[in-house]
Symmetry: C2
Subunit: 257 residues, 2 copies
């Protein structure tokens, strides 16, 4: 169902850190200035779930204690599952905006590929509504979101005024501390190095913890999200849901299959 | 470690349907014509896991019965976890190619976003080696892969001859039956509709099964993977790991933040 002209927009708030995360509550608080808010998220962390969906077990969405007085559901699925349920009759009307976060930790550069926060935003974009993932470059559960919330409000205000091009969503990352401003950037090329820590369990069997460090592979980085974040700017990267590499199509068409 | 000039290339084979899937065995058989093969996959289905990674539990990779005589590991993580482990000291040398599949079911159009098969291929691309996800448009566990294997061989031969541009991988989908040929395509714009089937459990509580049908949102579809597949062509879509929407950057830069 679509909203009447008299209604405020419906803003869906979700995240991948789970329903008890501080960043989720902070995001709800900001969104209440802009419209009617509903919340759906998992009870447990869904970090690293990317655009994952749940195909092998049924999903449940159950009302729980309201966050800041707004309807709040817990879901046993991924962030994408939560968004899909929200566009499929969970609420009386479908969301007009999807916002995800505020994530505890950066989703700059290649993290966009693995991030459940961004999975939710990409799914919102696929459903044709303006969608944004917000992340704070601070992994602590008690991170200070006070300055990040001002960035969230400014970006969201701009999105209300301008919309977001179809099949695109925004990846917004916010530095610790006071941001110098907001920059539109491209995703830095980078990868994770030495990604595992090998250990041996009490029974003598090997296991591996995902770990490692990020290596920036760009030579000229000034227009990247990583560079801007490191220089205390909040970053806005438009993210395309069409993954086709148009630049290489002609090259591949020349192959003799 | 890198291979000596005298060594055959090392081809990593993985999938998201699990180590017992017929499509995995068929892919190993084709790859044995091209080089030394190693296999790593999950014991259970990882369909829909996208680019998901496992951050909250340790990973194990355990040797199991060889498939077609090649070293074979089971891993308790996602397809991306399996690829990451393979590039991080699981084997004596790092893979020169990553191939994923042959998936039981199409990964055309927007399915690239959700697919574990393509998650593995994207991760291979991030590690800088030519990587391909192969999918057969037939969900049956007893699907006939005989003609699909010829497509796999032809595409892989082309990749050996031409390489794949950096930070790109290939999404290859193969129709049921005899393919008319191989076409390089773009990802069709589409989305899933009526995505859930609502049921009530014996205790009176609602639950939802992910379901629904695909709707093509392209008006002019002749250059899309969906159109070509429907016309019995195998499709090759180059997939970019950089998700930045460069086309909209200038527009968003004009916003007054």
């Amino acid at each position: 169902m679509q909203k009447n002209d008299s209604e405020k927009p419906l803003i869906l708030v979700t995240n991948d850190d789970g329903i008890h995360a501080k960043g989720l509550r902070e995001l709800v608080e900001v969104m209440q200035f802009f419209g009617d808010v509903v919340v759906i998220s998992s009870e447990v962390s869904m970090s690293g779930k990317a655009c994952g969906i749940t195909v092998d077990q049924p999903l449940r969405a159950v009302p729980v204690e309201k966050i800041h007085g707004v309807p709040t559901y817990k879901c046993n699925g991924t962030p994408v599952d939560s968004v899909k349920l929200s566009f499929n009759s969970l609420f009386e009307r479908t969301p007009d905006y999807v916002v995800s976060g505020i994530n505890h930790g950066s989703n700059a550069s290649i993290s966009v590929i693995y991030s459940g926060t961004m999975g939710a935003a990409i799914e919102g974009g696929l459903h044709g509504v303006p969608s944004i993932g917000f992340s704070l470059d601070d992994y602590g559960s008690e991170a200070d979101f006070s300055k990040a919330k001002l960035v969230v409000a400014r970006v969201f205000q701009s999105v209300i005024e301008n919309g977001i091009p179809a099949f695109t969503c925004l990846n917004v990352n916010i530095p610790k501390g006071k941001p110098e401003g907001i920059k539109v950037c491209r995703q830095a090329h980078g990868k994770w190095m030495e990604e595992f820590e090998k250990r041996t369990d009490p029974h003598g069997r090997e296991y591996h913890w995902l770990s490692g460090y990020f290596q920036n592979l760009d030579e000229d980085t000034e227009d990247t999200d990583i560079f801007a974040l490191e220089n205390n700017f909040a970053t806005v990267v438009p993210v395309r849901v069409d993954m086709t590499c148009y630049e290489t199509m002609d090259q591949i068409k020349s192959w003799k299959f």
